[in-house]
Symmetry: C2
């Protein structure tokens, strides 16, 4: 297979929320309490919520910048590609990058809407209304604008498993089968993944076929070895949170209680998994005679293979070791517009790793697994031959994907 | 190669300290302040130090037990194999297990002698004297009793890099080229691996050719995701501390300052390393244009390959992926008498992973690399043909390695 012939569905990208997210989506009594998008006196932008200015409006949205400006955190939407926050521009960016489908995580609310948890502590109904409004915006204005291009995803109400279960059911009725969830709720001050608190949530997910997606960073904590560790150290250790999540879901009773449940480790990478599988089996071999752990007659690696969906951006070792993985649970990510992304050159990059991989297996990894797990069927709405990397790029040959400095981007925004 | 033909030198085993460690090894004014081995009213044993009873006298020393008794922490030396604390019995256990050489970490003081750090806070000279006495015992009575069978190792004075440097030089003059060191001193309340505090220590190590060995657990912290996580979760995540250490040493300036320095990641495993190498290079590719990180023109993976000695007990994935590793830095561990060990059947276990590995590479992994890095030359003292798994086991054919319950072990101890 040539890179142009791939069909790419990414299970991990990011939307930078535009100012109008909450507009017209709340009862009047709640409208004033909604987060507000503000421009500050110095020209930077923020979301104002609960009296706090959340300044990460465009968190790490560096796509299309020169790499020497990657370290300069975007402080306003004037500094980033419109594809970050404008769905029509996003689809053009996807075309130009050869990506057919995309699942988008939230930015300013945090991966699991953690900014709404303090709101819930003082007014649970308001907090739930805000999450519902956000989800409505995502389902209608974002993913819903191009149902052939987006895998819709909702935010949970992390403070309430029953409410989240209801929201999962409501969203599924609207065609959404992905929900963001924390890789370690305990780190957010909530019950852990071992707790039965979450059972109503898992139950709803199984009932309607929805996949909880645990993104790196969704525990709300970074792995930092010391205060003088450089940024490279923190980036190097970012998969550790998902190694921890992999551990918790394997040893938690959740999959014994809900055998149909699947979870995704978003941006977790894959290359560490063969070692992890071997390690948990080795541990179980040494502990099962005394610890009381009951895995229902299965090996921990079998539980992992069956229930955990793996997601990688660029992972030669993971692909090389795919014979140690469940190939039906292996998916690909673009990570647009974050700094780890290779957009718009990702197809060529990922193709380098597919040497020796059969066309059938490439298809599984690049789109078929994602389509099945998230019940995403773009070919109901468009022809497959118009959905390949080559076809999409041809349709966007006039779309500007040239590298632009922050200064150039600001000048462009001012001219509009 | 057949399992019987291997020569096994393990770079990670453990000594359970016998009562006499400090006897006759301290100036009279310090003798009373030395840790004391006591038997408590209930028959359990402890080391009494600084007014505290340290009950882990036989930490995890479960070799030779039935596996359903692995979870019952040994509480006295009557419950464990004499090979844990008696060097003559240890050598017999090594013979019976086919192991030629062994490097032994401390038990009751903690991997890096952290029990002496509070002592140093009130009396630095006393604390240093205690560490020196411990090291003298290890160098003379333990490793020194069989110089053809043990790689000697010393404890550091973690509170003082200059003192540790002096101790490294003193030990090297006595033929010792291994020193235990923390995988994250910051977690122990000390400067991090990024700090130049440790420069005198690294300098001494380079000067005399000594390898700092960072054992899992030597940061003094476990990776625990939540209080209700089962023991399997904590075991699954034990390598994470060394993934963190690998990260710190790659990005720290230490190897640029000391290009001859090598460190070992003891019990860190290997299977995660190919992914880690790929990941750090990917990160550097994305950060080097803005972060200011200077690696002297090298890739992070090159720094890792050059300076980091890898150590594995049982790691099929690591061996399968050895083409992604520096094979000159790959070493093997027995982990006697801990629960992860396969003693006395380790040779057959490890041989399973060596299918397709050349004899020359098996020799590197099983003993030649360890001999070179730790300047350990048993063949100066004994013939190689008497040092293979088969030859050693034949010499100990009458040694009892049968599985014994704790009750049986206690009855045996009472009979003596």
């Amino acid at each position: 297979m040539h890179a142009d012939d791939m069909v790419l569905v990414s299970v991990d990208d990011h939307v930078v929320e535009p100012p109008e997210v909450f507009e017209g989506r709340l009862e009047e009594r709640y409208q004033d309490a909604a987060p507000k998008f503000i421009t500050r006196p110095d020209g930077t932008m923020a979301w104002l919520h609960e009296g706090e200015e959340l300044v990460n409006v465009a968190l790490n949205a560096v796509a299309g910048r020169p790499r020497d400006e990657y370290g300069w955190e975007p402080a306003s939407i004037d500094e980033i590609r419109p594809g970050c926050y404008d769905v029509h521009a996003r689809v053009k960016d996807m075309d130009a990058g050869g990506t057919l489908g995309s699942l988008n995580f939230a930015s300013f609310p945090g991966y699991v809407g953690k900014v709404f948890v303090p709101t819930a502590a003082r007014d649970r109904d308001l907090a739930a209304a805000l999450v519902r409004a956000y989800n409505d915006w995502h389902l209608e204005a974002w993913a819903g604008a191009y149902p052939d291009r987006f895998i819709p995803m909702i935010l949970p109400m992390m403070w309430d498993a029953e409410l989240t279960a209801a929201e999962v059911r409501r969203a599924a009725a609207l065609g959404c089968h992905a929900v963001s969830f924390s890789s370690n709720p305990y780190a957010l001050g909530l019950p852990s993944l071992y707790s039965d608190t979450w059972d109503p949530f898992w139950e709803a997910c199984v009932e309607v076929g929805t996949v909880p997606c645990m993104h790196i960073g969704s525990s709300g904590t970074d792995v930092v070895t010391s205060p003088d560790a450089p940024i490279e150290s923190i980036y190097s250790l970012s998969p550790v949170n998902l190694i921890e999540a992999a551990t918790d879901v394997v040893w938690s009773p959740m999959f014994r209680k809900y055998p149909e449940l699947r979870v995704a480790l978003s941006e977790g990478g894959v290359g560490w998994v063969p070692y992890f599988r071997e390690r948990v089996d080795y541990i179980f071999d040494h502990t099962q005679h005394w610890s009381g752990m009951d895995l229902g007659g299965k090996l921990p690696s079998e539980i992992f293979d069956e229930h955990v969906i793996l997601c990688f951006i660029d992972d030669a070792i993971g692909v090389e070791n795919r014979h140690h993985l469940n190939l039906d649970n292996l998916t690909w990510e673009l990570d647009y517009p974050h700094s780890d992304s290779e957009w718009p050159n990702a197809p060529e990059r990922v193709m380098e790793h597919f040497e020796g991989v059969s066309d059938a297996d490439i298809d599984k990894i690049t789109h078929l697994n994602a389509m099945r797990h998230f019940q995403f069927d773009p070919f109901r709405l468009r022809a497959r031959e118009d959905s390949t990397v080559g076809a999409l790029r041809r349709s966007a040959s006039d779309w500007d994907v040239s590298i632009k400095t922050v200064a150039e981007r600001r000048a462009l925004a001012a001219a509009h």
